[in-house]
Symmetry: D3
Subunit: 340 residues, 6 copies
């Protein structure tokens, strides 16, 4: 039986209602979100046994996070608690030519200040078969680089599959710092999630000019990036989600996957967007799910793209869809006819 | 002076706000809805004298239904009351590749359990010139088949025009049961509303393969279905609304009409959707209105399609538009410029 | 380690916002509630290991119930699922001289139609130390009388403490029917919760006239009722909550407890009310908690009354308070000074 | 069969949500209200045949008024329409020491500018048995004095009972103007509603000093005012509602009635207030109802005070209560226990 | 240092929530709006020193306007106050084929009834470098024609640049009246904003038939209209915004500018619309801003079109965007990618 | 002309709607608040020229604060900006026996990390006549002790009146630390605001046992505390607000004032509470206002208590009342009768 562990920060998300701007808002919609928590919830919704590991403040806000995650049946028994604050972020949802805007207020959170000894990886990973984290976690501080290193070492020891989403955030660390840390950490990684910008900024990997058409990468270009990543780090799989932003509320959405030596690409969906935050995480969760369930690479990719396509229609970072709904879209039933 | 009577169930509709999913909702928007009530409200909004016949619970919820329908000036004097429950349905509105979802909770409603003797058709139809019902009413139980039969017999006796929308619902009855009942009941029907799926499932009527292009019916195919229905049952008019689902919030919308021996089709609207539930009913109401008012067939069809096109922009099942608004769109003014 | 099992129905609660009447409402606030689920949530909030047993519909509404209960950490592993409807109730909150109004729509719910074999009591009660139910469960049908009987027999076999809240509901069954069933079932009960009206209606037990002062029972009268219940059925504890309704939003609230042969009464709180539904359940949970934790009778009673006093200030049926908050009020700190 | 006609203005009421001040509000709650419309709705809710006469703008806002009033089954067939504006008022609800605040924006409304010939009293009063208006209607302009005069003359001709609520509004006319007009109009009036301030300001009628205790009128004082009104104008009944304002959200509420030569007073309710606007109108409607139904004076008064006591708990000007609810409170059941 | 003065009315805007129709609404969203106030807020948001001149009621609603405008740092020191009402308008937002609908209720507002002597132009324009008004202000009455004339005379005296947006409103005055008044007033104007319909209706100026393609003006046609306006009145700049209404929520948006003798046109944006009211004002503000800042004509036009493109995504009439945001879109970054 | 300067932090306040608990909330109501900002807004509302000095983040949240404060006409020209976060606090409003709960998340805010050189006191205090701060400001860090010291030195130099509210917050600093710092800082203070607990904790000053009646201080006791404070530090005025907490939503509210050698006490209001946060600040503002305006001590005290009594009915920390409203209550008109 598969058991996935994800490790990272979960924040309170404060979003303006409708299309109000931050400076106009008198109310915020409150949900909870974080790259690794988002993956955990997606997997739990698909029926996978998943444990989310973090540190939370020992106050009502920490309780609110627990309640929220409990709804999805995510295992929370390895979360630790302490005095401190919950990280948070503010979101204003874009429309047409106006982009969405995110303001982070996550510095000095109880998780960012957590100590390596807060996490007993031997116990956390006892029955685990998969460990997932993103580049955000080590970006929060050297203490968390150390925690990641501990986790990865223990994972290697236990022969646990490891996946990582590069998720480079310029506000959290410099490219140099990221390169140093991530070059080390991805050595433990089997499955890498990235986008073109991430790989350029973190690893200096990019496609040849010949693969750029009208300023955008061709499929061949994405394939080249995947293959170069695999060459350098030996990943078993590299998956890249591709977003074509027409306007803020209307995007093209597809993905590519390099699995061993074979390259796959998905169909492209034109998605009308309710809330796109967390789409990348829902894609990663889809690939993890497909891999765990033994789907073939193309099927895995199609499943992951369908899942993340649906995420764009869900309010909040969490992908609140069922396995059946994803499979139906993956099969091509994406025309949105009423289900009675 | 025309007087229309519609007969069926009205339910409480509990819809999640915005694009929240049912499992996310902490609030529901409450409206009231039902295929035949929707038609009645449309007609009342167009200035037609219309009476809605049903059975309601004798409690506050029944009162709330009365209040709601009274707003539109629908005649409610033939509604009867009794102990029991109000049927209801839950609605989550789809977006992009995620379809809308409807959960019915209508079993054992006070209407579904009504007795034929609850309705005195002699009195109800005293001054009526038109009777409308849908396939949902007889699907609710043999008692309601009997009530429909009583109504239709009395209508025939009084030479009242009868219209019926097939509205096949697999959750309410089997195709076999529907075929048996509807084959009998439509013998009284002058104007039939249907869609291709309905006619296939209820009557086994479909177009020849040569009329199918890329998996969809051609106009010729729809014409063939209309003509076969007319041949078998002798309908004066057969009207079919055509929905092309691009994504859940963006549809093509048009319709065809066989009037005596002549076949008509409307222009197709690309509709951006606020709420599509009840669109079919608003189309039926448009055809009934045009027919009553002596419009020519093409004008009737264009009016009905314009009316139901507008319905997609109205919250709730009821088509809250005026005659003037429909006529303006039917004339081609559908570009949505501000009216000051 | 104590482990409590509660058995009963959980419904969707549809409440009008603020002080709107049902006939005025365009929105409902959605929560989930039921006498035995309310007790389970209270106990979980106090840190007790508790399992809630019911049957739910296998659709999104059943999922919504699961999500809700999971938030509190209630064990849901013994809930079974099936096709059918979720019971529900409508609530309009009273104010001043206008009382709150409840309309039940729970007939034919998937739980009301559950079969005795849906519940494997041997497994459900495996590690249980306490079983709680209320008179509502057997009132839902003979199938549930049988399920209760099965549970109680198994509880007796396993020497599990049993508590029952009489909760007589005239809309569910007659006094005669209730008397017959409950007289049998309470033979298994150790701790009885009731109010004066319940005991009169279900068992015909009441106080002597001399104990009635100005039309209301004196404390001596309540003591007499408790003692008569104990005499007839041999309960170890009888607890009665006392509500003095000044106006709908301002009540006196206290309780009495007969523990073995000793009679206790609590202080009376003057409660300003936000939402009083579920207060009785929160009182029962308080008594169960105190008993499990080995509190003395007076301490148990004071804890239970403080807990249920606080319930009046919480929106929804569930008593969303912490152990510390209850203990603080029980100690006399109920003046509501800001906690910073 | 009684048939009541009320004549006056109905306005849009724009109230801030909760206890927000006007300068804080980003939203308004929209209802419709007016002294005579409020009386009409109360009577319709009690099952009385009632017609409301006014003039409305022929736009969507006029339609919204129609829809609103139709909900209650008020007859609207004598309402006339024209180009113009709908009067409106802004409301901020007080609390504790902060009073409610009303800002009127009703000048130049289509009703205030209506012409006497807009109202065909012969037809309007054809089957009427009772005519009700308030001092607000003639205060809106000489055109409306004339319309009132026309209505009253026709009422006298047809031997219709006439009631009037003085409702003096200093912002609409001066005391002198009011005295001149009202002294004439009340000559047609059988039942007068007033408060002490009204009678002082409009008619210069007040109680002797000996009837003033601690700055407030004694019951004897109110009796004297009633009798002096009756002496001067020959009213059959004079009813005065008495409000004791403790704080904005907590009032004492009672009333007195002089019926022929007999003086009655009601019990005083302590009302916790949700929304007190329209309470006086609901009292007048209660007296009209009791009189029409042939209740005895004390019963009429108790009914009217109970009805208006309940009004304080209802959002909006309209008294959305049933006959049964009022009678229950009038009988003394005002403790607000939950009705299940 | 530039200092802009704008002169006109500001109204309360009462908009239905979401896509509810006016007849469905139980709530209104409250903002404040007016053509000249909208321009003032846009300029203040861009950092320009701007004063808005109007007359407000001396009550809470006037205070609410002050508070609102103060948020943006608009100078309000020349606003005068008096007894009277605040103008208002009702808005229902269109979607797809259903257009937005505006109902004005602005007659007899305290501004419409203001006297020329309420405005001391010598003082108001003391340090001003630019004066802006629209055709709505003189349309409100001869008193306001006089006030405009006073302002324009003083502006000429002080050599202040004057801009005017024709903004013809058929509900406020006839074409004849408008022609007479505006022909006089635009003699003082340097920069004219208009649309094709305005110039035809107010000045009888239109393009030759040869410039009409498929019923719409070609770019050459717009150029011709601009040049004819310049010829007749000697404007330094003429700017026309071009809206192509696909459906109510999806429009093409671009503009043309005649600057001295040179004609410019912008790119066309396809805008998905949240709220389009005020877009024209935000365009005018953009042109004024560019001119003041010494941008070149093409840059000014691109800036103004980008600013007004963004306005379509902002709730309320005011264009709540920053200089940086506009410049980013003007540079071509309008794909709506998330800003983190 | 008086000009007041207040110096401190302003936070975002995130309050649950209605009486929802923090763990229940899916939305927060957003306002902005802080002890010294609250005082500034109160004074601006009373027409006093007031400047609020703080440091804000240079992002949208800082802009939102500016917008908010600008509404009231507070001078913001001395606010400085920098990279960093805005402090915030979470609020759940208590009811009955359940207290309000505040969770602060203000550590490391851009203000808490501000440097003394961020504030140029020579310029800030140029025309000032009054400086106000509270004990919260120096509690935020030694940098802010230094900033306070700089401000106070400059104030002394310029002979500016200084007021201080002790506002001891145990979560921000220890009693020892507070004693050391505040003993120094209050040497510059003319007017001290405190409560009994503050003076005990910060200065170890308390009343003799003989002044304690039933566990509470008598008026004589409060007088003694005031006199001891004056003796030790030489304050010109000492003002203490007295809250008697009956339940969370019903409090007694009054105050005492030692002015030179004379002791005054106010009447006690029974306040029904909408929102009590900020009441102490509104009291301080009232005393400052009365003093500035030259009111006599009793009048000043009565004004301040009336103002802060009204604050309890206002949503948000800011006291959104007018001078006229406060004066009316201070005169004894606090019965809450409707103002039309």
């Amino acid at each position: 039986m598969a058991k996935v562990v994800t490790f990272g920060e979960i924040m309170m998300r404060l979003a303006t209602p409708g299309y109000l701007r931050l400076v106009q808002a008198n109310q915020f919609e409150v949900t909870y979100a974080g790259a690794e928590a988002n993956v955990a919830v997606s997997l739990a919704n698909f029926g996978i046994d998943v444990s989310f590991v973090t540190k939370l403040p020992s106050n009502e806000l920490g309780q609110a996070v627990l309640r929220t995650l409990r709804q999805y049946g995510v295992d929370l028994s390895h979360i630790c608690f302490g005095e401190g604050r919950l990280g948070l972020y503010f979101l204003e949802t874009g429309f047409s030519q106006r982009p969405s805007k995110v303001i982070y207020d996550r510095a000095n959170s109880v998780f960012a200040l957590s100590k390596p000894q807060d996490f007993n990886w031997d116990e956390i990973l006892k029955d685990a078969t998969w460990l997932h984290f993103t580049g955000i976690t080590p970006a929060l501080g050297d203490n968390l680089v150390e925690s990641c290193r501990n986790a990865l070492n223990k994972a290697k020891e236990k022969n646990i599959t490891v996946s990582c989403d590069l998720n480079y955030r310029a506000k959290l660390w410099s490219e140099e710092k990221a390169r140093g840390v991530m070059s080390e950490l991805v050595q433990y990684v089997d499955v890498l999630f990235a986008n073109e910008e991430d790989t350029e900024k973190v690893f200096g990997i990019h496609a040849d000019d010949s693969n750029i058409v009208e300023g955008k990468l061709s499929l061949a270009g994405y394939e080249q990036v995947c293959r170069r990543l695999r060459e350098r780090f030996g990943f078993k799989k590299v998956a890249i989600s591709l977003r074509e932003s027409i306007v803020a509320n209307l995007n093209g959405w597809s993905a590519v996957l390099l699995d061993d030596d074979d390259f796959y690409h998905s169909r492209q969906y034109t998605v009308h967007i309710v809330d796109r935050v967390g789409a990348g995480d829902s894609f990663a969760a889809g690939v993890i799910y497909g891999t765990i369930m033994g789907m073939k690479p193309q099927e895995t990719l199609d499943f992951a793209v369908a899942a993340s396509c649906l995420k764009h229609t869900i309010i909040g970072d969490f992908n609140q869809v069922t396995l059946e709904e994803v499979k139906k879209v993956a099969k091509g039933e994406g025309s949105g006819r009423v289900v009675r």
